[in-house]
Amino acid sequence: MESSSAKLKVLVFSTDKISDPAIDLAGLLKKHYPAGVYTISVPCSSAIKPRWIIHALQRGFDGVFIAADGTDCPYGELCVPNTANLVAATQIKMEKLGIAPQRLKMAAICSICAEPFVRYMNSFLHDLDTI
């Protein structure tokens, strides 16, 4: 029987130079993750607007995952605090709108982190299933 988490939909914001290559690599290495995971790539994880995240959650995504550049960001070290700030600001907005803040998660995914990406997806979907 299909688990209920298999039906969940997650939007991943990946980054063109760092985490998107890792997600491609997961496919290349045939490391499977649930098909409910969709990706939109942006230049840098600190460029994601809270309104896009909220739009995704309001349009039917069960969760949003930011596959952040972390310290690997080609645009420099400001990426880490800026991404953390936008996540915190979005979670406040989510709470006000009655959306559980746990539906937004962030983790740094390096350009070769195919396996950690798959692990994060499985555990995030599992967590979403329990909200």
Partner: protein, 645 residues
């Protein structure tokens, strides 16, 4: 808004269509608003398909294009060029990845993968509807390249680049150049000798005004982008700066009290802490190995060029591209694997090559015994069976093993060679070496993966037992004087280059190119190229082919003096902007400045400084900043496409 969109869904042979029902995807999107034509295609990247798309764009007056195929990392530029050939602005094209991020990632879930592909294509259509025509920006390209590794591949890359007029910074981590090739003596597939080939290339490097060679040098940090990387290089102190009086170096070496196993000879011999591997080695002066030197000063008193207080140096350089030529390591068998490190007459091929090279002609002796029978066990550390092991073929080894067997028989008296193989792979012209080894009377036995040979020592004698496929699985045992394990190639250990340059590695842990056939020396990091054995096992010819390919690719990208960058920059809606200035505090490139009249303050973007990172977008309280290609309309359109039914 685009109203005449062409949508093409690629089968990629069966890479996509074995999992995703491509016709179902086409049917699901063909009636969407704005879609003028939707088709499937066997290989969207083929010439025929590209021509068909060009014809459709012109004959049907398409104003935007969506191609659902592989990762944009592979073919974004191919399909942008298709759009341009048909007179369509290349930024009115959107590529949807339904291979790496769909069919390959969900190959066991055909129905779900098809559903996902439909949503992804819808999302691409929603995005392209709002796309705007743009032109790329041009930035000046540094006319210089950094080549990492002065093995045979790196030296060849450097010479090719220098010949087309680029400045080359060639970095070698060790104190001597030539990489592994300098270790091999007589080479296969050429009547040449490793150190001689290295010397020939070194002569060209030394005479070339465009090549700046740094030895004992390592990259320690890098930042920037294609066209303008800023790199920091650490140069270890060699502790010897020039020449000594005649024989001064020899005296300095002999007085050194420290003796360590010589890694150049894979531990067969020892060397001093002040050392040189062979007399003609480049550079032709010894080096002091800090890891083993006890700084007693004995050598310093014999030679004025020795300076134990020499300090490391740091260099800051600017380069347009980086070529990684950092090579491989030989596979090191585990203790006890075919008797390795337990039976002293079991050697690896690299050790045996060194033994043959340093032994004088006549008799071959090892550990005080003359060697007559040599048994070679092939595919050690290659073609292993389990996931996570080295499942690949190391390519160089069948040829080199047979070539070495030929050399051994020519150089030394009374030699019998017994080859225990898993099927010989002397591909191409190298087949002649197989023929020669067979003609000289070498014995060939073959074992299967399920029945590996067993090496045993009994009463001071070494035996190899094998179930030979060629004689209907007969079990045979040979007494042998030496066992040579034909070891494969593995990625270099102790190398942080992949992390520093963000180069992805593959399942085999070697560096990964974008596409083995179509973009074989490029990585996903623009301006960082890979060549030689750091990307997988290769012989010297293959190493040189890829090194010259990387040099050509690099030269082509820099030679016009200009690099074209994506016109993805921020844009401020001055009507909405209140001039609060929060965005100024997060921009890492000082690309935002205050502007506007006093009564209506606002900010504006300095286009030449903006790198398109988008850090300013989420902090604006008025949502007054957009990034071209990632506008609210485009992003929310994509999300709508992913959630529409």
């Amino acid at each position: 808004m685009k109203k005449r969109i062409g949508v093409y869904v690629c089968h990629c042979g069966g890479n996509i269509s074995d999992v995703v029902n491509v016709s179902e995807v086409v049917t699901a999107v063909k009636d969407m608003e704005g879609v003028a034509i939707a088709k499937n295609t066997l290989f969207a990247c083929s010439d025929a398909a590209q021509n068909e798309i060009v014809n459709d764009i012109t004959s049907l007056h398409l104003d935007a294009l969506v191609i659902a195929s592989c990762s944009p990392k592979l073919h974004l530029h191919t399909f942008r060029a298709v759009a341009e050939r048909a007179g369509l602005n290349s930024y009115n094209y959107v590529q949807v990845n339904i291979r790496e991020q769909c069919s390959w990632a969900h190959s066991y879930e055909k129905v779900s993968a098809t559903g996902k592909a439909i949503q992804l294509v819808k999302s691409g259509i929603e995005r392209v509807i709002f796309s705007r025509a743009m032109e790329p920006f041009s930035i000046p390209a540094e006319q210089s390249v950094m080549v990492l590794g002065a093995g045979i591949g790196g030296m060849r890359s450097a010479i090719s680049l220098a010949n087309v007029g680029l400045q080359v910074y060639l970095l070698e981590r060790e104190f001597f150049i030539g990489g592994r090739t300098a270790q091999w003596g007589d080479l296969s597939a050429a009547y040449e000798n490793g150190p001689e080939v290295v010397s020939r290339l070194f002569k060209q490097i030394r005479e070339h005004a465009n090549i700046h060679l740094f030895i004992g040098a390592e990259l320690i940090s890098q930042s920037g982008n294609i066209g303008s990387f800023e790199v920091k290089v650490k140069i270890k102190p060699r502790r010897i700066s020039g020449d000594c009086d005649e024989s001064g170096f020899n005296q300095a070496i002999s007085i050194c009290p420290v003796e360590v196993p010589d890694d150049f000879n894979f531990g067969l011999t020892s060397r001093k802490a002040i050392y040189q591997h062979y007399p003609s080695e480049y550079p032709a002066i010894p080096a002091i190995d800090d890891a083993n030197c006890n700084f007693c000063g004995a050598c310093e008193s014999l030679c004025k060029s020795i300076d134990l207080n020499q300090k490391e140096e740091i260099l800051n350089l600017k380069v347009g591209n980086i070529i990684v030529n950092t090579g491989f390591d030989p596979y090191e068998p585990t203790r006890g694997e075919f008797g390795y490190n337990e039976i002293e007459r079991v050697l690896t091929l690299p050790q045996f090559k060194r033994l043959v090279d340093i032994s004088g002609a006549g008799k071959l002796n090892f550990k005080g015994k003359q060697i007559h029978t040599i048994t070679y066990i092939f595919c050690v550390g290659s073609r292993q069976g389990e996931e996570g092991e080295n499942q690949y073929c190391s390519r160089y080894c069948c040829t080199t093993a047979l070539n070495t067997a030929i050399i051994v028989k020519r150089k030394f008296a009374d030699i019998t060679n017994i080859h225990c193989t898993r099927g010989i792979r002397t591909y191409g012209k190298q087949e002649l070496i197989y023929e020669e080894s067979s003609r000289q009377g070498d014995i060939f036995l073959e074992f299967s993966f399920e029945n590996m040979p067993v090496v045993e020592e009994r009463n001071g004698k070494v035996f190899v037992r094998i179930k030979d496929i060629l004689t209907a699985n007969r079990e045979m045992e040979a007494e042998t004087d030496l066992v040579v394990l034909i070891t494969g190639m593995v990625p270099r250990r102790n190398n942080n280059i992949a992390q520093m340059l963000k180069i992805p590695t593959g399942r085999d842990h070697f560096f990964n190119e974008i596409h083995a056939k179509l973009r074989p020396v490029e990585t996903v990091i623009d301006g960082v190229l890979i060549a030689g054995t750091c990307q997988g096992p290769k012989n010297i010819m293959e190493t040189l082919n890829s090194s010259m390919a990387a040099a050509a690719k690099s030269a082509a990208s820099l030679s016009s003096g200009t690099i074209h960058l994506e016109p993805i920059v921020a844009d401020v809606n001055t009507d909405q902007c209140t001039g609060c200035g929060i965005c100024l505090t997060v921009c890492p490139f000082d690309a935002i400045v205050t502007a506007g009249p006093e009564d209506k303050p606002a900010v504006s973007i300095v286009i030449s400084r903006c790198k398109g990172c988008g850090m300013c977008l989420p902090v604006c309280p008025e949502d007054a900043i957009e990034l071209y290609g990632f506008t609210n309309e485009e992003m929310e359109g994509m999300i709508d496409g992913l959630t529409s039914y």
